[in-house]
Symmetry: C2
Subunit: 203 residues, 2 copies
DNA sequence: TCCAAAGATGTAATGACTACAATAATGGAA
DNA sequence: TTCCATTATTGTAGTCATTACATCTTTGGA
């Protein structure tokens, strides 16, 4: 559908606010920047910010949708596939994307900003719960054992959390190619190990 | 240590505030009650409330300490014991306490209040994270494999979450003794099943 | 050209929480 | 008992996110 000028301008405003906000948050920390400042920097009214984003956290977590990945992966997987295999492949794929050269530094910066803000941490937990819920739903569509499905989703979320921590602690900030290679291998070994536990448990 | 009158009075005030607050929250829901109302009902200044409780949520989650259970259980367990066995026993113990006649209705009421409030849900997630952290620490004291310890703690937290949901959905509000017996058995089967998954996975 | 829809703005209010200064109760020293 | 240093309690003022609502502005289309 073609967007008229009106809709286009609206998206422009939204994008401008989001960009300005993200830059400020990354630079000075989420809690140290007020919505009023964001509005001023984006040259709009505070109300306008809230017209586009339901809460301050949404200014940071803008590109929503990453948390639908696992559920989608399950839905798109062939009928006989082991859910844990599917989820491991999905997780591995996401991780490799994040490790790409240009992305890594940015990613760590984002995560550090999250870790520096109680509000963002809380929001991340909420999102993880969303992911878990949607994954449970997807699993319910292919298998009738609800307790097991719920557990599978919960274990996946747990695995993801643990591995995410691992990624942060193992990867050096300055991407010295040699070390990075090394760290990446260590990380992939951890991934394999963690998913092996899930697979064995849920066998 | 003996408490002087001053300290005793302080605790009295604190308790009075907490009691009044809990009653109000259970009755009308956490978000529908303002701190100012709590203060008025307890006949103290709003400031006094915040002198005793760092945040509104602390008025509800007062008896802190339940989340130290798993870590303590691990520390008190004999050297050779399998962590998953210890954690299952601990969880089972806690569950049975909650299922005692007088407790159940109260417990469900509490949980429903939590589930009715985004703020309390967020706080519960935070507490679960605390539990996970302290459990990881305890596990680190008896085994050197940090990744595995971290994973064990995360899987325990996941199990707990799933089983907690189960408890809420399986147990009828009106405790008809026969049904309750039935539900309790079903619940304990679910507990065994979930922990069996952990045990197998972490074997 | 003009109107109705929809976006942007401004104002005022609520509610949690903090900073800070003032007040009051109290435990212990003289 | 009297007086002082603590310390609990209070009151005031302010910050910040968020909402309600009325108003202004832009714009798509009749």
């Amino acid at each position: 559908m073609e967007l008229g000028r009106r809709e286009r301008k609206k998206q422009q405003t939204r994008q401008a606010i989001s960009d300005v906000a993200t830059a400020l948050f990354l630079e000075r920390g989420f809690d140290a920047v007020t919505v009023a400042e964001v509005a001023r920097a984006a040259d709009v009214a505070v109300q306008t910010v809230f017209n586009h984003f339901p809460a301050k956290e949404d200014l940071f977590f803008d590109e929503r949708g990453w948390w639908t990945g696992p559920a989608r992966a399950i839905r798109e997987a062939p009928a006989g596939a082991d859910p844990v295999d599917v989820l491991e492949a999905e997780y591995l794929k996401g991780t490799r994307e994040r490790l790409e050269v240009g992305h890594l530094a940015t990613w760590k910066q984002f995560v550090r900003t999250i870790e520096g803000s109680p509000a963002l941490l809380a929001r991340r937990r909420l999102t993880a719960e969303e992911l878990e819920r949607s994954l449970t739903e997807a699993l319910d569509e292919r298998s009738p054992d609800q307790l097991r499905n719920r557990l599978t989703a919960a274990l996946y979320a747990a695995a993801q959390k643990v591995l995410e921590e691992r990624l942060m602690s193992v990867l050096p900030d300055d991407a010295a190619p040699a070390e990075l290679e090394q760290a990446q291998h260590e990380l992939e070994r951890a991934i394999a190990e963690v998913f092996a536990v899930l697979r064995r448990g849920l066998r």
